[in-house]
C-alpha cells in the first residue's frame, strides 16, 4: 500500500517537473532562435526575475495574484467543479473594489479599513460572479466550465463599460484627451507595503496569499468541509444519500472559488494599478488557472506554480524590453507545460 502511494506521488511529481523542464528547454530554444544576442537576452530575463529588489517585489506581487486564482481553482476542483472563469471574477473584483475605494466613503476609515473594506467588496463581487455559474449548475445542470468561461466575456465587457461610462467609473473629463479609465484611488485605500524600503514594492497581498493558503490547506485536508466536497466530487448521489447537501456545498465551493479570484482582482487594483482600465486583468485569470492545473489539487503546489509563473512573467517582460524577444515566449512555455502535463497523464493512464 505504502509503496503504491509513494509511487503515485513520485510519478505525479516526476511528470510535473518533467513537463516544466521540457517546456523551459523549448522556451530557451525559442529565445535562442529569436534573440539577437542569446546571452544578453538571458541576462535580461534573470534581471527581470531577481535582478533588483524591485524585480523580486514585482514578481512576488504577480505570484500573489496567480496563487489566489489558483487556490480558488483547487478549492472548486475538490468538489469536481472546474472554475475556468478566474479572469471574469478578477474583472468583477477589480471594478467593485475600485468603486468602493473611490466612491464608498471608506478613505477616511481607520485601522486599515480604508483598504480592507474594498478588498472584501471585491471578494464578494468575484463570489457573486462565480456564484451565477454555481446556481446554473445546481439548479439547471449547466456545465460550469461553459458558464464560467462565458461569464469571463461578460465580465470583461462590464469593465469596458464601466470605464467608458461617465455615470460609472470613468474619471471626470477635463480635456479631450482624458482616457477612458477610472480616477486613481485615494492613497489611504492603496494596499500598504510590507517594508519601508521604497524600492521593494511588495504589498500586504503576499500575507493574504500565505494566510489563505494555510486556511485552505487545513479546510481541504483536515476539515469536514474538505471531506464533504471530496465526497460530492467523487459520487454526488451517494453523498446525497448520506445526508450531505450536495447543492449547498457545490454552491459554497463555487462561491469560495470565485471569491479568491475576486480578491485577486481587488488586490491588483488596490496594490499595483490604482485605477481601472479596460483589460486591466490582462490574462491573470488564465495564468492562475494554469497554476491551479499544474498543482493538481495541491495547495502547496499552487504556491510553487504561482511563484514559478510570477517570476517567469517578470523575466519575460524585462527580456522583451531589453533584447526584443517577445514576452509571448513566456506564454508559449506556460501553454507547453499544460500540454505536456495533459499528455503525460494520458500516457500514464494508458499504461495502467
Amino acid at each position: 500500500m505504502m509503496k503504491n502511494y509513494f509511487n503515485e506521488h513520485a510519478q505525479v511529481l516526476l511528470t510535473t517537473f518533467g513537463a516544466v523542464f521540457l517546456a523551459l528547454m523549448i522556451g530557451l530554444l525559442l529565445v535562442y532562435l529569436t534573440a539577437d544576442d542569446f546571452s544578453d537576452a538571458l541576462v535580461a530575463f534573470f534581471d527581470g526575475m531577481f535582478g533588483s529588489t524591485y524585480a523580486v517585489g514585482a514578481s512576488l506581487n504577480r505570484a500573489v495574484t496567480l496563487a489566489l486564482v489558483g487556490m480558488g481553482f483547487v478549492f472548486a476542483s475538490r468538489a469536481n467543479l472546474v472554475n475556468v472563469g478566474g479572469e471574469g471574477q478578477i474583472a468583477m473584483g477589480g471594478i467593485f473594489a475600485a468603486a468602493m475605494a473611490l466612491y464608498g466613503g471608506v478613505s477616511d476609515l481607520p485601522l486599515g479599513l480604508a483598504w480592507i473594506l474594498p478588498l472584501i467588496i471585491g471578494t464578494l463581487a468575484g463570489s457573486f460572479w462565480c456564484g451565477i455559474a454555481g446556481v446554473l449548475k445546481v439548479q439547471r445542470g449547466t456545465n460550469e466550465v461553459i458558464s464560467t468561461l462565458l461569464l469571463i466575456f461578460i465580465g470583461l465587457l462590464v469593465v469596458y463599460w464601466s470605464v467608458q461610462s461617465d455615470s460609472l467609473l470613468r474619471k471626470p473629463r477635463t480635456n479631450s484627451s482624458t482616457l477612458p479609465e477610472s480616477a486613481e484611488i485615494p492613497e489611504s485605500t492603496m494596499l500598504p507595503y510590507l517594508m519601508d524600503d521604497s524600492s521593494l514594492t511588495l504589498h500586504v497581498g503576499l500575507l493574504f496569499a500565505v494566510i489563505f493558503a494555510v486556511i485552505i490547506w487545513i479546510l481541504l485536508n483536515k476539515g469536514e468541509l474538505g471531506f464533504r466536497l471530496r465526497a460530492i466530487g467523487l459520487n454526488d448521489i451517494a453523498s446525497r444519500r448520506a445526508g450531505i447537501s450536495a447543492k449547498r456545498d457545490m454552491m459554497l465551493a463555487m462561491f469560495v472559488s470565485g471569491g479568491f479570484s475576486g480578491l485577486a482582482g481587488a488586490i491588483m487594483i488596490l496594490g499595483e494599478q490604482w485605477y481601472v482600465t479596460a483589460g486591466f486583468s490582462s490574462g491573470y485569470g488564465f495564468d492562475g488557472l494554469v497554476a491551479g492545473l499544474l498543482a493538481r489539487g495541491s495547495v502547496p503546489g499552487v504556491l510553487m506554480a504561482a511563484l514559478f509563473f510570477g517570476f517567469l512573467r517578470s523575466g519575460g517582460l524585462t527580456m522583451e524590453m531589453m533584447s526584443g524577444v517577445p514576452s509571448a515566449v513566456v506564454y508559449i512555455i506556460q501553454g507547453l507545460v499544460v500540454v505536456f502535463i495533459a499528455g503525460a497523464s494520458r500516457f500514464a493512464d494508458k499504461r495502467d
Binding site: 469536514e224 451517494a238 446525497r240
Partner: protein, 536 residues
C-alpha cells in the same frame, strides 16, 4: 436471400445448434455447458432471471462475445462469429435492449445509414420501407424524427433495421421490458408474421404471460446453466416458473434454515394473533400509502402502492427486477419524490423528506446499487462507515481522525468486515465486505426503527449472505421494521414473515412467507395469474 419453405425438412435439422457453450469472465462462469437447437420458422423463448446468462448467450450468437468453450453449427456449417459483422453476414440480426438510433434524424435517415451508398433515392427507399413495415405490421412514419417517437416505436425502427437485411434468425433481447401492454400485443403479432416466412426468432424475456402466447420452444436459464428445455405447452408453465426461480427449494431452505425458518413460522403465528387494531396501531413502523410514481420520461413506474410494515417484522417485496423496486427504493431513500401518495412513520412525515431527515427519523437504507448510492469507493473504509454521521466527528470544522478510526473499528469488529486496516481504500474490499460495511453504517444509525434492504445479498458469497441476514434478523428482533426487496424467492421465504409481490409497479398480492405458497408467489412474480386484474 432465399428461405426454404420445406418445413418438414427444417424441423429435423436445426438452423442453429449450440454445443456445450460456456463463457467465463475470469473466475466467474456466466454460461456453463448450454446446449441449444433453434429451428427455422419457430419462436424460441429464452427465460431466466436477471443475470441468468440470457444476454450473454445472445451476444455469443451475435458475435459480440466469444464463447470460452463449446461450438456452434449454423445451417450445417461451423459458425464462429468474432464480431457482429460475421453474424450479419450469415443472416443473424439482433435487437438490443438499448437502441442505437440517432435521435435527431428521421426514421428513414436512420435506416438508410450503412444500407445505401452513392446517390440516394429517398422516395424509392421510403416506399420500400412502407412496404416492409406493412408486411410485418410495424406501423411507423418514415419521416418522423426518432426523438419524437415512443420507446415502442423506436423498437419498431430497430426491428425494421434488422428485417431490411432479410435475416434468417432474429434475436430480440428483452423486447417487451420497455413496452406497454398493447405494444406487446403488436410485437408478438409481428413475431408470428416473421416466423411465418420461415425465419427464426430468439425471444429473451422473463415474463411468462407473454411467452405462452407465442413460444414454440422454451429454454430456461438459471445462474448460467440450462435448467430446462422443452416444446412449449401450457401444462409446462408451472415447471418453467420453478425452473426459473429455482427448484432447489430444499437446498436453499437448508441453507437459510439455520437462520430462520422454524422460528419465523412461530413469529407469523404470533403476529396473526395480534390482529387487534390497537396493537396494530402501536406496532406500525412504516406506512406506504397509495404511492404512485411517474418518471421523467412519463413511465408509470409505481401505481398505488400500499404497504404497511410493522415494528419487528421482516416484510419481503418479491418481484422480478425492473418492476418498480428501484423506484420505490429511491423514494424511500429520499432520492426521488413520489408523484402522489404518502410515506410516513407514526410520528414522522417522510413523503417529501430529504435523505438526512430520513436518516434522522431512524430509517436505514441498504440501497440496491451499492456502487452508485451505497458507498463512495474512492474513499477509505472509515470514511464510508461514517459517511452519514460525519458531523459527529467534526469539531470547529476539523475532523477528528482518531475518533473516526476508533468508531470505525468498533463497527468493523461488530459487523465482521474483513479489512487489512480501517483506512484501507473501499475499492480494495470484496463485494461482501463492502456490503457488510454499508449494512454496518445503516444499522448503526441512532434509534434505528426501519430498515430498507434492497437485494442486500446480491453477488455475495455464502458466508457474507449468512452474515447479512443475521444482522437484518437481529435488527428485527430489536424491534426494527424491515422491508426486504429481493428477486430471490427462496431467500425471501426463508427470512421474511410476509411477502408482497410487485409486478409492473403494482402490489399484486401479499402472502405469508411459507414454502407452501412459493408457486403461487412465483406465478404472481411472473405476471401470470393476474390476467383478470389487467382486463378488469
Amino acid at each position: 436471400m432465399a428461405i426454404t419453405n420445406d418445413v418438414n425438412e427444417l424441423d429435423k435439422v436445426p438452423l442453429l445448434r449450440l454445443k456445450s457453450i460456456g463463457k467465463k469472465y475470469g473466475e466467474f462462469s456466466a454460461l456453463d455447458d448450454v446446449e441449444l437447437d433453434i429451428f427455422s420458422g419457430r419462436i424460441h423463448c429464452m427465460l431466466g432471471e436477471n443475470g441468468a446468462g440470457k444476454s450473454t448467450l445472445c451476444k455469443i450468437i451475435y458475435g459480440e462475445e466469444v464463447a470460452s468453450s463449446g461450438s456452434m453449427l449454423y445451417a450445417g456449417n461451423d459458425y464462429e462469429p468474432l464480431a457482429p459483422a460475421d453474424a450479419l453476414a450469415n443472416g443473424i440480426a439482433m435487437v438490443h435492449q438499448h437502441f442505437s438510433l440517432i435521435h435527431n434524424m428521421s426514421v428513414y435517415e436512420n435506416l438508410m445509414l450503412g444500407y445505401v451508398s452513392g446517390v440516394l433515392d429517398v422516395a424509392e427507399f421510403v416506399s420500400y420501407l412502407i412496404n416492409l413495415s406493412k408486411r410485418y405490421g410495424l406501423d411507423i412514419d418514415p419521416y418522423s424524427r426518432v426523438s419524437e417517437l415512443s420507446v415502442g416505436q423506436q423498437q419498431r425502427v430497430e426491428i425494421l433495421k434488422c428485417l431490411m437485411r432479410e435475416p434468417r434468425l432474429l434475436i430480440l433481447d428483452e423486447p417487451t421490458a420497455v413496452l406497454l401492454p398493447d405494444e406487446i400485443d403488436a410485437l408478438l403479432t409481428t413475431c408470428k408474421q416473421i416466423v411465418a416466412e420461415g425465419r427464426s426468432i430468439v425471444l429473451v424475456t422473463h415474463k411468462l404471460a407473454e411467452i405462452s402466447r407465442v413460444a414454440d420452444e422454451v429454454t430456461v436459464l438459471r445462474g448460467g446453466k440450462q435448467v430446462m428445455q422443452c416444446e412449449f405447452s401450457e401444462e409446462q408453465v408451472d415447471a418453467m416458473i420453478s425452473a426459473m426461480i429455482g427448484s432447489e427449494i430444499a437446498i436453499s431452505d437448508l441453507r437459510l434454515a439455520g437462520l430462520s425458518l422454524a422460528e419465523n413460522i412461530d413469529v407469523i403465528a404470533t403476529t396473526n394473533n395480534d390482529e387487534k387494531s390497537a396493537d396494530r396501531k402501536a406496532s406500525q413502523c412504516m406506512i406506504i400509502d397509495d404511492l404512485s410514481f411517474v418518471d421523467e420520461r412519463g413511465n408509470q413506474c409505481l401505481s398505488n402502492i400500499t404497504l404497511e410494515i410493522k415494528a419487528g417484522e421482516i416484510h419481503g417485496l418479491a418481484g422480478v427486477e425492473g418492476n418498480g423496486q428501484t423506484e420505490l427504493g429511491d423514494i424511500l431513500a429520499g432520492l426521488s419524490m413520489p408523484t402522489s401518495g404518502r410515506l410516513y412513520m407514526p410520528d414522522f412525515e417522510l413523503t417529501h423528506a430529504t435523505p438526512s431527515q430520513i436518516t434522522a427519523a431512524g430509517v436505514g437504507i441498504v440501497p440496491e446499487n451499492r456502487h452508485r448510492v451505497g458507498c463512495i469507493e474512492e474513499l477509505d473504509l472509515t470514511e464510508n462507515l461514517l459517511l452519514s454521521s460525519i458531523k459527529n466527528y467534526s469539531r470547529f470544522g476539523l475532523l477528528n481522525r482518531k475518533a473516526m478510526r476508533d468508531a470505525a473499528k468498533i463497527l468493523i469488529d461488530r459487523f465482521d468486515v474483513r479489512a487489512p486496516s480501517a483506512d484501507v481504500g473501499f475499492n480494495n474490499l470484496s463485494g461482501g465486505n463492502q456490503q457488510k460495511a454499508v449494512l454496518a453504517r445503516e444499522i448503526s444509525i441512532e434509534s434505528l426503527r426501519f430498515l430498507l434492504a434492497a437485494h442486500p445479498t446480491r453477488g455475495l458469497d455464502i458466508g457474507a449472505v449468512f452474515a447479512v441476514y443475521e444482522h437484518i434478523r437481529n435488527s428485527a428482533k430489536a424491534g426494527v421494521g424491515v422491508l426486504l426487496i429481493s428477486s430471490e424467492l427462496d431467500e425471501l421465504i426463508a427470512v421474511c414473515e410476509k411477502i408482497s409481490v410487485i409486478y409492473r409497479g403494482q402490489i399484486v398480492g401479499t402472502l405469508p412467507a411459507d414454502p407452501q405458497y412459493r408457486d403461487q408467489i412465483g406465478a404472481l412474480m411472473s405476471g401470470s395469474g393476474i390476467q383478470q386484474r389487467h382486463s378488469a
